[in-house]
Symmetry: C2
Subunit: 317 residues, 2 copies
């Protein structure tokens, strides 16, 4: 009988760092979290990572296969993390090297972009575990993603491939924070979507979203989906439009990379009926006829813990 394989997964987020002992099937055996205190700069944050890892139960025993870390910054081709937004003082950080010194360990340390590890979790223990090639897209504040090719994270030319959020869907469209116009993220990124809905709602006095907001709920993709589930006509139409836009961006990516499977993670991956189903229709209508019969769009298995789980799985390789 083979011993079960376990690794440490760390997900460094803007406000908290998550730590987990994760089994190779993606099961979390133990998990904890600490505040990030990003204002302490890279060495401060990495020291908190080291302390958190050391305090995990079982770390002093053998049997842990490695330590994986997901970080919200672009990777370069040397595996360093570059300029994570909202992390003051981070330039080009050799995270693995620094952690190795702080932890004084010989265990393998794998460092990756956070969207990449979330995609990796799906590839090895999630919705994509029997597929070798897919596009992973995470719908949250931003729209990120990664390309899994032949079971591995594809890093593209410079190390940071997978920025599906900044594929153009309408070159004369909505201004995007990145400086361009009509990026996918400028419609289906959480804040953009909420802002657009807010503007549109001014002309729709009978939407139940007005009452939900008056009752203290925040206008967000999630509340819009709740309204759609309760039959709100505006919410249904609005999410269908967002799904159509999502499908258009996905079609560009699949055509370009000859990929046939999309796995959607992040906050809105649960909105299957009102967002993902219209996205499927739009994708199917727009993708090249040579791949259309094989194209599929599935919600991810993992949700909030995808990054931590994927980081641990990556460390097991």
């Amino acid at each position: 009988m083979m011993a079960e394989r376990v690794a440490v997964g760390v997900d460094i987020g803007g406000t908290s760092i998550k730590f987990g002992l994760v089994r190779d099937d993606g099961t979390i055996l133990h998990q904890t979290s600490n505040p990030t205190h990003a204002e302490e700069g890279p060495d401060g944050v990495l020291m908190r990572v080291a302390v958190g890892v050391r305090s995990l139960p079982g770390m002093d025993q053998s049997g842990v296969a490695g330590i994986g870390v997901g970080v919200p910054g672009m990777m370069n081709r040397h595996g360093e993390i570059c300029h994570p937004p909202n992390f003051p003082g981070w330039e080009v950080e050799p995270v693995a090297k620094k952690l190795r010194r702080m932890l004084e360990t010989d265990l393998p340390i794998a460092v990756e972009n956070d969207a990449n590890v979330a995609g990796y979790a799906e590839a090895y223990a999630g919705t994509g575990s029997s597929d070798r090639d897919f596009l992973f897209v995470t719908l949250g504040t931003g729209v990120g993603g990664c390309i899994i090719q032949d079971g591995r994270i594809w890093h593209g030319g410079g190390g940071g491939a997978g920025e599906i959020g900044h594929i153009t869907v309408d070159m004369h469209g909505q201004l995007c924070n990145c400086g361009s116009r009509g990026c996918l993220e400028a419609y289906i990124g959480q804040r953009y979507m909420s802002d657009l809905a807010r503007t549109r709602l001014q002309r729709i006095p009978d939407s139940m979203l007005h009452a939900m907001i008056a009752a203290g709920e925040e206008l967000s993709p999630k509340t819009i989906d709740e309204a759609a589930q309760s039959g709100d006509e505006f919410a249904v139409g609005f999410l269908a439009e967002m799904g159509e836009i999502l499908g258009a961006g996905l079609a560009s990516a699949l055509n370009m990379c000859d990929i046939r499977l999309v796995i959607i993670g992040g906050g809105m991956s649960r909105a299957d009926r009102f967002l993902l189903e219209p996205a499927r229709k739009s994708l199917q209508a727009r993708v090249l006829k040579s791949i259309a019969p094989y194209v599929e769009l599935r919600p991810a298995r993992f949700f909030n813990d995808a990054g931590m789980i994927g980081a641990a799985l990556l460390a097991m390789r």
Copy 2:
């Protein structure tokens, strides 16, 4: 002293098949061409390839490193060529296997998509020969391309990556032959561009293009570029708009694949001032800030013979 390395390059086009003996620096030592007769079906066409290859001078001697063939169809993951448009009777063709049988040779036979071999020519003997990663785009009747990653053709998930022509630039825009809307090709593909110019010209009676057409010239991207070079205001503005659209499509691809260099081949690669320069500006304005300082767009070195040269270079690997 090393002997010079030579291989055979074959480029199967819709109307003619080109054959060449090519040196490893891209120099053509000998070249010839025969009609394709695509109506004879795959075996007829491949037999003509075999006959043409056999009749090349020096084929009976040692010293030829291999035979490379470019075909205008999508590759699948088994290296077979699928459904080349305008080639009746082609399904999924094991071109290499069939040619090996017809030629009764032990030489390596490399078969690739035609845009891929043209990109490969740039990677090994052209504008990209000192770059490991770039996007190659060919502007012709269609808009094709390939991704060169770490010096090799990147095949993506299914084998046919690089379909930059079917990246969306405006999801509600111009209808494309592929069935989608607002594809890059639906603007800068040769026929689309000519049709759009023809429509616009009806409102511009003083463009010199009217006189050029009256004198028997065909309205094409090339004639529009000639008019622009002669100072025609309409032509200059029209190509600038096409360049802006090209830049938008390229930005999506570079963001997605974290690539920083674009090499433009095909018919319009010579239109540097009026098409490529506006494309550079648009690309620079739209690409992610993290890669913008490194982004470059260059015309290709090879022109009509790119496919034949690239096929031969590929066979030398």
